[in-house]
Subunit: 461 residues, 2 copies
């Protein structure tokens, strides 16, 4: 018999073998005593298939009584059914029941709340909702790799262990092999980090940017794509302590070219998902976010607005809105402002040239001496999706910024040296992958965009 998967059947009904074998899991069974129907999935495709069985099968009664989730292997005939809802069905000649589910199987044939499913993170990928979300996550990841590889970027695996805490160690997890109930102490009574594995205090880094820059100055265009850990003790819908991030970095690339890359990449990924996840998006459009497909299609066809931070503030100040946070020149903008500005322009907006005092030391100081060449991409319904900047390539200027901000230059001397050894105009950005997934799927909680979420007081499985 030809062992085949459901995806292959849907993709080429015309070349499907007449006799075949399929293994999968039972979604439901109904029967009338003489024949019945199994809704079968094997995980390879969003839709299941219909298996018809009848009482000529010796184990008919056992088949009819199978629980949801049971594992079976079906031998049967592939039959086209153009008059039916399904394009084809399988007429079973044998059904082998490999395994059933115990009575406490939580995924019974009914709707479960998303909160309940969150409690069973190891089973929820079997539901329609998470089949859709996590397949889109996989397809979107593939789209990202595809975009960057096609365009000549080198994929760099920057380290996640670091001993540099200049990024702000309050946001970084400490990492140790020491026994915390029996810590080695120095003469000063403090922990003797010399006895730890790396011989010094180690952290998990919250970004691969600095290392990425070193590689961009060797390979021209690079990107990272990996997990990021941050310690934020924040229980919101958009914060998790472990998430994935994409950080591209390009040599000989200024702020305008950076925005070109961001716009092109995002459109490529959204379009790729639109083309490759039709079933999943239709389901999500029906049950999670009405208008999802229209929203994504609109993004692909839009031109992203590019506007200076100060001009955004002017628009906000002129708006006839009672703000919770009053917009001010030189200050950050709040969520309500982001929302207003994307609605104002009816599409994605690059906000660029931010006040230097609210941005990082490594961003390029503009000729005005007041702003830096930083850019945030605001997307309708998602808020800030990417943040990037042209990097300060002038050694003197970046050192001055470090001094002004009290950053210990000796801890990042190698990074600063990049400005002394063949420095060049270069730019990069970061995109939180889960935020993209939330945008692509319409789901509203980051806990549902990542397979096994880690949030404060929550690290199960």
């Amino acid at each position: 018999m030809n062992k085949i998967d459901i995806k292959s059947l849907y993709e080429s009904t015309s070349t499907a073998p007449k006799n075949l074998t399929i293994s999968g899991w039972v979604r439901s069974v109904r029967d009338n005593g003489s024949f019945g129907f199994i809704d079968l999935t094997d995980g390879t495709y969003f839709k299941g298939i219909q298996v018809v069985f009848d009482n000529k099968l010796s184990n008919y009664d056992s088949i009819a009584k199978m629980n949801t989730g049971s594992t079976i292997t079906v031998e049967g005939e592939f039959v086209l059914t153009p008059e039916n809802k399904q394009p084809f069905e399988i007429h079973a000649t044998a059904v082998e029941i490999f395994s059933t589910t115990d009575a406490d199987y939580p995924l019974q044939k009914k709707r479960h709340s998303i909160e309940f499913l969150r409690e069973i993170a190891y089973l929820r990928p079997r539901t329609n909702l998470f089949q859709a979300v996590f397949r889109i996550r996989s397809v979107a990841a593939n789209a990202i790799h595809s975009y960057f590889n096609t365009n000549g970027y080198v994929y760099v695996n920057t380290p996640i262990i670091t001993t540099t805490d200049c990024e702000g160690s309050d946001q970084m997890f400490k990492l140790t092999t020491l026994d915390l109930n029996n810590l080695p102490k120095g003469e000063d009574g403090k922990v003797n980090w010399g006895e730890d594995l790396f011989g010094k205090k180690a952290y998990i880094t919250g970004s691969g940017q600095l290392h990425g820059e070193a590689f961009a100055l060797a390979f021209n265009k690079i990107y990272t794509f990996g997990p990021t850990l941050r310690t934020e003790n924040s229980n919101t819908k958009t914060h998790a302590n472990e998430f994935w991030m994409i950080e591209p970095e390009m040599a000989f690339c200024d702020l305008e070219e950076l925005m070109n890359v961001e716009e092109e990449m995002l459109k490529y990924v959204v379009n790729y998902v639109l083309e490759n996840c039709k079933c999943e998006l239709e389901f999500l459009d029906n049950f999670v976010q009405k208008g999802l497909i229209e929203k994504l299609t609109k993004l692909v066809n839009s031109n992203f607005v590019r506007i200076d931070h100060k001009d955004v503030i002017t628009i906000l100040k002129q708006a006839n809105v009672k703000w919770e946070f009053k917009p001010e020149y030189g200050e950050d903008i709040a969520k309500e402002h982001e929302k207003y500005i994307t609605e104002y322009f009816n599409g994605p907006v690059f906000i660029k040239n931010w006040p230097k005092d609210i941005k990082s030391y490594y961003m390029k100081l503009n000729p005005d001496g007041e702003t830096v060449a930083a850019v945030d991409l605001e997307v309708p319904g998602a808020g800030e999706l990417m943040g990037g900047s042209q990097r300060e390539e002038d050694y003197q200027k970046i050192c001055e910024r470090c001094d002004q901000l009290g950053i210990d230059k000796s801890k990042i001397d190698w990074y600063l040296n990049l400005r002394r050894f063949g420095s060049c105009v270069h730019s990069g950005f970061g995109m939180g992958f889960e935020r993209l997934i939330m945008y692509l799927t319409g789901i509203e909680n980051i806990r549902d965009a990542i397979p096994f979420p880690r949030t404060p007081k929550n690290c199960d499985y």
Copy 2:
């Protein structure tokens, strides 16, 4: 002027624009007072290009004096030179010197030892050796994503933070947000983990397999590809504390089918690198490992042997070799044995059906009650490249193994439950990415296969 990169020029000399602009870094300059040559690279291609300049340029003297590593932008004419070593060159009409290198730039125009380059991990990607190694790393990663996506696998980002220490917490880093100089203590004087971010003791996991299995039982075929941290205090050429790993997991897949996947995937990746990294492999074949290309080509065209562990022991016992470690039935095999057996068969060898006592609790017990359906792939010149197994899908049997090995079942109850809720035959394997890179490039130290290596007492940059 047409801004272009060097890769595009090499890829289509016939469509190159006549007048163009290229930015890049100077590898070397030589001149005779009236004209000169710049060897220019921009990181997009393994080879650089030759730029010809003459003393009609007003800044001729400055150009002639540029240091290695200087950043320039060249405007010029593209000229085909079929009679020369290079297929083309650029006749400069202008050379703008953007940035030079300070006198202490470590990468002068001479050969540097690999150990010296390891000390300047942030600059070594600019050398030929690491241009080759890290581009192959990127291409191989792309090949892996391409193989699994093309074959219907779902990419799953399994968590790296875990509170389950059943895999052996002695191999896992502890992760905390607590101040180690001021730890909160309980009444028993021990650390009160309730005050840590997750409300309990947290680790970095050394494998995504268990979570991968949960997703394979929903999506059929999945793979992970991400960083892995282990605490091994081992200073060898093959150990690092941070490395990347690929862990595929397949439902309805037994040991034989698992080996099919491993063999097909490896051949795909090696072939992909052979086709896409010709310059890099030629360089490595010349300067790092003679015969590298032949070795890789041979692998692609070989049939991998499949042999039981006990039959390997028989061969080893019959061999006329004075072993350092005596081969014994029921015991592990040493590096010298691995080497012998791949030479014996003159190709890659799957060693399968291992004694249960030296393997993990989750591996499927064979009908003999003595061996498990595990398999290691041994490759000539690389040793063990992949390790995998059919997983025990029987709930009673896996519980018995846990009890025998003293594993606390309550900590992995969700994992064990996968055997109660629609269990199925399934298998998976793990492959260390750096080990693959070492095999593909011929380099002998894992520190040179990963951008910023982390090893005991060594965590710089």
